[in-house]
Amino acid sequence: MHIVVCVKQVPDTKIIKINPKTNTLDRRSAPAILNPYDAHAVQEAVKIREKTGGTISVLSMGPPQAVAVIKKSVEIGADQGYLISDRAFAGADTLATSYALAKALEKISRQQPIDLVLCGKHAIDGDTGQVGPGIARRLDIPPITNVIEVSEVNKEDKKVLLKRKQIDGYEVLQSQLPCLLTVEKEINAIEYAPMPNMIKAARYEPVIWSVNDLADVDKTQLGLKGSPTIVGKMFSPPKLEGGKRLEGNPDSQVEQLMEILLERKDLLKVNTANS
């Protein structure tokens, strides 16, 4: 069983500040961490390996300092890691990122065939959740998002039994292997890493690939050139003031809201002053 987990280094968004003048993220204001959802993906890979045996590889794209998240993944229990790092990848949106990662996954699978790809639900800096499914589409394997439980992995039949989060409850489904899963936080609790993992990680030096190390790459699909997304504007939303918070289940919240709206018709008037 060969599991590959895609991980990303992100600024800790609990701490990061937005420069009010330029409206860009002040990356110096926050430490860089392993995307929390990805940490759960690595932890899930460790849990699967306990049952099936095999190898866990992690893959990341980023600047050279992103080796830190691969080392962090080794702490959690990954066996090895690859970083693709090149100026050609810089400025990539989710489309170009999934292209580059898919190319790296192809290379990894030529060395050792991949049975399962795991990703976090989304990165906390972009919140798009598009890279995972993007990779799956390019590798032509099924993407299964919002996974909250990997119930069973059958190596022989090449099948996996999963639970997927839904708005009300969950969905049980079976998929062929290989496939790609994106995981929610509730899938597991990150375990306190054992000391031998810590020592291994402190010593570990990941394989670093530049664009020339990958085969059959269409360079126009990489980095800024390969990214049709344009960020129009970034701003911190103004803090909401006043108002009242409605509590209770969704039905009772709707009832409460209707009552308020029927009582205060002035709230329904279109505010033309700003338009």
Binding site: Y192, A193, P194, M195, P196, I199, A202
Partner: protein, 431 residues
């Protein structure tokens, strides 16, 4: 079987990192274990880094280390409620290589220093607490951490686990420290634009100032306060011995609040934005509190060995020097393959022969004297302020008459014998 190292260093502060750096540099297989998220995340000091001992480890470190400002001016304030007597020195020779000392922010500096040790080949592991030393046949052979499969072994374990040093206490190297042997210091980092700092402290470019404040800064209790300039922030803090705090029923945050609102201090902080709040114990017991520093397979360095000179606010430099001395002793012990206490006592000999223990010995009774006789901070400092006020106020009285009046008021309050006695006692404590 768990992995075995040549050396395990517990704690990535200045002492531990210095030791790990020098061990790794000499080819020893070194493991450095830090409990914080990263080195520096839990470390606190007022903010002065001395050039000499750092330079002994990394020559010309100022060219790459994350430093705030080279200190070109050191001021001392004897403060009363609405006045202050000042003296100090400013010299531009301190603004040039090789410099005298620097202000630093520890969260950044310690990370950089630890990275240097890693570059030398030390393995750094964060977020891991060492719970105890593993002792076999009366010899320390490794450490137990709070992680699963958490045992790691080594020929020598270096305890750089800070002021409380629970690990050396477990080994019976020291008793629980008394409240008069430790100071509790609280400090804030206050963000302020560079231009404002330079204007208010009369500084040019990246030059820095340090101010040590005695007297009303601790409401007359044994301790000091400080105000240091960083690039774009100020470090302000205050500490007193824990025993003074208990006796006077002081709350540390109230003390800091009092200082920040003090009319002599307030104008410097005006408009600043509080960025960080930190607190830490400082070992101030001095010479008498230094514990056993070497045992079979184990050494104690830095704050854990209580190596702080409170009078001269030196600590991190002593920590670094002690870490380096420990590393040198380990390298020698390795050559002999002998890690017994007798062999590792090379470290103790080096320590006691160095400026560290000599300085601590010089001031060995100072803290006790000033704690037992509170009149220095409580009475003489206000008297000094009144005397200066009287002397410099132009009111038609002749200067000679003023001098007489000042002397009269001092001796009238205390009696000339008592004053002489106090002066002699203070001189004896710091001579």
């Amino acid at each position: 079987m768990s992995e075995k190292f040549d050396v395990i260093v517990v704690g990535a502060g200045p002492a531990g990192t210095s030791c790990a750096f020098n061990c790794a540099k000499n080819g020893l297989k070194t493991l450095l274990i830090e409990r914080g998220e990263y080195p520096g995340s839990k470390n606190v000091m007022g903010g002065v880094l001395y050039r000499k001992q750092m330079e002994d480890i990394i020559p010309e470190f100022w060219k790459e280390a994350p430093l705030e400002r080279p200190v070109v001016e050191q001021r001392f304030w004897m403060m009363d409620k609405e006045s202050v007597v000042q003296f100090g020195y400013k010299g531009l020779e301190w603004a040039e290589e090789p410099y005298n000392n620097f202000t630093v922010l520890r969260a950044q500096f310690d990370q950089w220093f630890a990275k240097k040790a890693v570059d030398q080949g030390a393995l750094l592991i964060n977020e891991t607490v060492v719970t105890e030393c593993i002792v076999e046949n009366g010899k320390v052979v490794g450490v137990r951490t709070d992680r699963p499969d958490g045992e790691v072994f080594a020929d020598v374990v270096v305890l750089a686990d800070g002021v409380n040093s629970l690990l050396s206490k477990q080994l019976g190297f020291h008793r629980e420290f008394r409240p008069d042997e430790v100071a509790l210091t609280v400090m804030e980092v206050i963000n302020l634009p560079k231009e404002k700092i330079n204007d208010r402290f009369n500084l040019e470019g990246n030059h820095g100032t340090t101010i040590e404040i005695f007297g009303d800064s601790t409401q007359g209790n044994l301790g000091t306060a400080f105000l240091y300039t960083n690039k774009e922030s100020l470090n302000i803090g205050v500490g007193t011995t824990l025993s003074s705090m208990i006796k006077a029923k002081l709350k540390p945050y109230e003390l800091l609040d009092y200082l920040k609102k003090h009319p002599m201090v307030r104008p410097y902080l005006e408009g600043g934005e509080s960025a960080e709040y930190l607190a830490h114990l400082i070992p101030e017991g001095g010479f008498h509190s230094v514990p056993r520093v070497a045992g079979n397979g184990v050494l104690v360095v830095g704050d854990a060995a209580q190596l702080v000179n409170a009078i001269h606010r030196e600590g991190s430099n002593m920590a670094m020097a002690s870490g380096q001395m420990a590393a040198e002793a380990i390298v020698e012990a390795q050559k002999d393959g002998d890690f017994s206490e007798r062999s590792l006592n090379r470290y103790k000999e080096a320590l006691f022969g160095s400026f560290i223990i000599k300085d601590l010995e010089k001031y060995k009774d100072a803290a006790h004297t000033f704690e037992t006789y509170p009149q220095y901070f409580k009475e003489y400092l206000p008297m000094m302020n009144k005397a200066m006020s009287k002397f410099f106020t132009v009111d038609g009285t002749s200067k000679r008459e003023k001098q007489k009046e000042i002397m009269r008021s001092v001796t009238a309050e205390k009696g000339s014998f008592k004053v002489m006695q106090d002066i002699y006692r203070a001189w004896k404590a710091v001579k």
